[in-house]
């Protein structure tokens, strides 16, 4: 890997957004993800290489630290911001089709449930692993999921619930999706859930943490 890509990867991992950003203090005054990504393109490094060898690995590193309990969510968020700062330079290449994401992940908290902190963490982690994330928000009804799947037929779906009374709504959503798309992969998560519940409602995968979801999607994309 070139020095430039390595620096860029480090900036994403450590959350160094641009030259003026004060975080992390150890990189104060140095170029951040914004400047380094621009430089990499100017040096003729292919956008797909920048994405695959610097940005995604940078996010993966912070994601691993997070799953091992060595990083906090705000550190992940600032890494995500650094990645976004770099990604703005790659946007035209996504539009032209020169670079592609690993897939599309549609996520939402089930109807009747407003909890979104866990859902947001999962969305952010998956986005950082190279997937396009369509976040439908909270209190999402079955028809909204079905409607979104129509737009993104190859997507993987993620459902979140935090309450014992709203877990039951997951089953309703899974049924409606499976009626129309029997093979659709549906990932479920949330504090009161279990593998047993996942099996019972016919979902494809249960993960107790965001990293488990990323690992599952890695296998899907492989």
């Amino acid at each position: 890997m070139s020095d430039l890509l390595e620096k860029l990867m480090n900036c994403v991992e450590l959350g160094k957004i641009n030259k003026v950003s004060s975080f992390p203090p150890s990189l104060k005054g140095q170029d951040g993800a914004d400047e380094l990504c621009k430089m990499a393109l100017e040096e003729g490094i292919k956008p797909q290489v920048i994405l695959n060898e610097a940005l995604i690995p940078g996010m993966s590193k912070i994601g691993e630290k997070f799953s091992q309990g060595r990083a906090f969510v705000p550190e992940m968020l600032i890494s995500a911001k650094a990645m976004t700062a770099a990604m703005k330079h790659l946007k035209p290449f996504f539009t032209s089709g020169e670079i592609k994401r690993k897939g599309t992940f549609v996520i939402g908290t089930v109807f009747g449930d407003l909890h979104d902190i866990g859902k947001n963490i999962v969305a952010m982690t998956i986005e950082g692993s190279g997937w396009e994330v369509i976040d439908l928000g909270v209190d999402v009804k079955p028809e909204k999921f079905v409607e979104t799947i129509e737009k993104y037929p190859d997507c993987v779906v993620g459902l979140s619930a935090l309450l014992t009374t709203t877990m039951a709504n997951m089953e309703v959503i899974v049924k409606e999706i499976k009626n129309k798309y029997p093979d659709k992969l549906i990932l479920v998560g949330g504090a009161p859930l279990s593998q047993e519940f996942c099996n019972k409602i016919g979902a494809s995968f249960y993960s107790p943490d965001p990293q488990g979801a990323v690992e599952f999607l890695k296998k899907v994309a492989a």
Binding site: G69, R70, A71, F72, V73, P74, L77, G112, L114, D116, I117, N120, I121, G137, V138, D139, L163, T164, T165, M167, A168, N169, P192, F197
Partner: protein, 458 residues
């Protein structure tokens, strides 16, 4: 701010079972008057709430109350409180909530008449307004449904009224995830405070008209969200401890507006409210592990007047249904506290010391609940010239105390936690105490897509 001195000035007077302003319920429970009572909270097992399940649901609630009261008789208990926290569908359809209160109260009355066993229902409707994003705190029609539940539920036999109000939560959720202390203080000390004033004025009026008890609020959606995130290692414990202190200022407003206690169980800020205002409080700790983990299982009981289990699903355990089993645990917890009370002040302080010392230096969130720390931090809070200033003072004092405990090697924190002490302090010191200036700065930073200023009177 109405309170500018402490009601309880010495940590030795901040104890379980006694509060300077006890509250007497209609069936004669004196909360904060020398007996700690259990407060049982419960919820349904995994199931949908609709017309076809309503009979089943009604039977479950009736059986829960019956089961606990029967066990209370067997254990010769002095009394208990049932907390009925409505679920979403119950507040959306007030007649469901009201009907359930009536069913449960009928059982309470039966045991009171037949056996003299005193029990009451604390009615805690959920705050529906957070279902709209951004929420319309003042103009939403959902507020009308909540008021219908307040009024109808009290008429149906609820004696204590509480809520976990959510004003400012639309800003605080992101602030918690980002550990943005400035936005968090804005959410609680500006938006939360303003919403509490509006909501509690209404709630107190309703209670006064009906001769019921406006009990209190809890910043559960803020402080306990932070605690759970810290337990999962998503955010630093130091941050969660500071959030807990900042919640005090927000929840204090319900007492300024006329709430008299007992403050609600999941508001760990209750211990501060007791020190500042003298009202009795409900607390939860080790016996609420059925609902969530916490690092404050013993210390939370140090100043409790009611002792709660937070919530347990109505499922079958080996001994019986879970709410009955959890009631029994609460009863034995409180029996121990009440025995200490019978023995007198030395025993109270001995038991309290064990509760405190067994938790205090395991986590900064426990440290800030220790009675002597509460007195110090609450003393700073009441010096505040306004709610923002009070939050800043409390948070900075809390950080000083945490830092001192780390430096003296009593509190062991990972390095990645310790760096947050300075970082939070620096951020807090930049917050303007003038509300208009703070509002202007925050809107410039986060815009007005998340919250509607007019809904907070801004």
């Amino acid at each position: 701010m109405r309170f500018n001195t402490l009601s309880i000035k010495k940590s030795n007077d901040l104890i379980f079972g006694y509060s300077p302003k006890p509250v007497t319920t209609r069936r004669g429970l004196i909360i904060g008057g020398g007996i700690v009572y259990p407060e049982l909270n419960f919820t349904l097992p995994t199931m949908s709430i609709n017309d076809s399940t309503l009979t089943n649901i009604t039977n479950q609630y009736k059986e829960i109350v019956n089961g606990a009261l029967e066990r209370a008789l067997q254990l010769e208990a002095p009394g208990l409180i049932f907390e009925f926290e409505t679920l979403l569908e119950m507040t959306q359809n007030p007649q469901i909530a009201i009907g359930l209160v009536k069913v449960m109260n009928d059982v309470c009355e039966e045991y009171y008449v037949k056996h003299g066993l005193k029990s009451e229902i604390r009615l805690t409707p959920n705050d529906l307004r957070e279902f709209e994003r951004p929420p319309k705190q003042r103009t939403s029609e959902l507020l009308d449904l909540m008021i219908e539940v307040f009024e109808g539920g009290l008429n149906a036999g609820g004696d204590l009224l509480s809520i976990e109000s959510t004003g400012g939560k639309e800003v605080s959720d992101d602030a918690l995830m980002n550990c943005n202390i400035k936005q968090l203080i804005f959410a609680l000390s500006v938006l939360g405070v303003r919403d509490m004033k509006m909501l509690w004025r209404k709630m107190v009026d309703i209670c006064l008209k009906k001769g019921k008890i406006p009990a209190g609020d809890t910043a559960c959606g803020f402080g306990n969200t932070a605690m759970v995130l810290a337990e999962k290692k998503y955010i630093p414990k130091v941050f969660a401890a500071v959030v807990r202190i900042v919640t005090v200022v927000r929840t204090l407003v319900c007492i300024e507006e006329g709430a008299v206690g007992p403050d609600k169980d999941c508001g760990y800020e209750g211990v501060y409210l007791k020190a500042i205002t003298g009202i009795p409080i409900s607390m939860e700790g080790k016996t609420s592990a059925c609902a969530h983990l916490s690092p404050v299982g013993n210390i939370a009981g140090a100043c409790a007047d009611l002792w709660s289990n937070e919530s347990v699903q109505n499922i079958k355990l080996l001994s019986g249904m879970a709410p009955t089993a959890y009631y029994e645990q609460l009863e034995y917890d409180t029996r121990l506290m009440n025995e200490a009370i019978k023995e007198g002040s030395a025993s109270i302080l001995n038991l309290q010391r064990l509760m405190v010392n067994s938790d205090i230096y395991h986590d900064p969130q426990a440290l800030v609940l220790a009675p002597d720390v509460v007195i110090q931090v609450a003393g700073e809070i009441v010096k505040g010239k306004n709610y923002i200033d009070a939050s800043i003072r409390g948070a900075l004092k809390g950080l000083d105390i945490i830092e001192e405990a780390v430096n003296s090697d009593k509190l062991k924190l990972e390095d990645r936690e310790v760096i947050w002490i300075d970082s939070l302090r620096s951020e807090i010191e930049t917050i303007p105490t003038d509300e208009s200036k703070f509002v202007e700065e925050t809107i410039a930073e986060i815009g007005t897509t998340k919250f509607i200023p007019a809904e907070y009177g801004l």
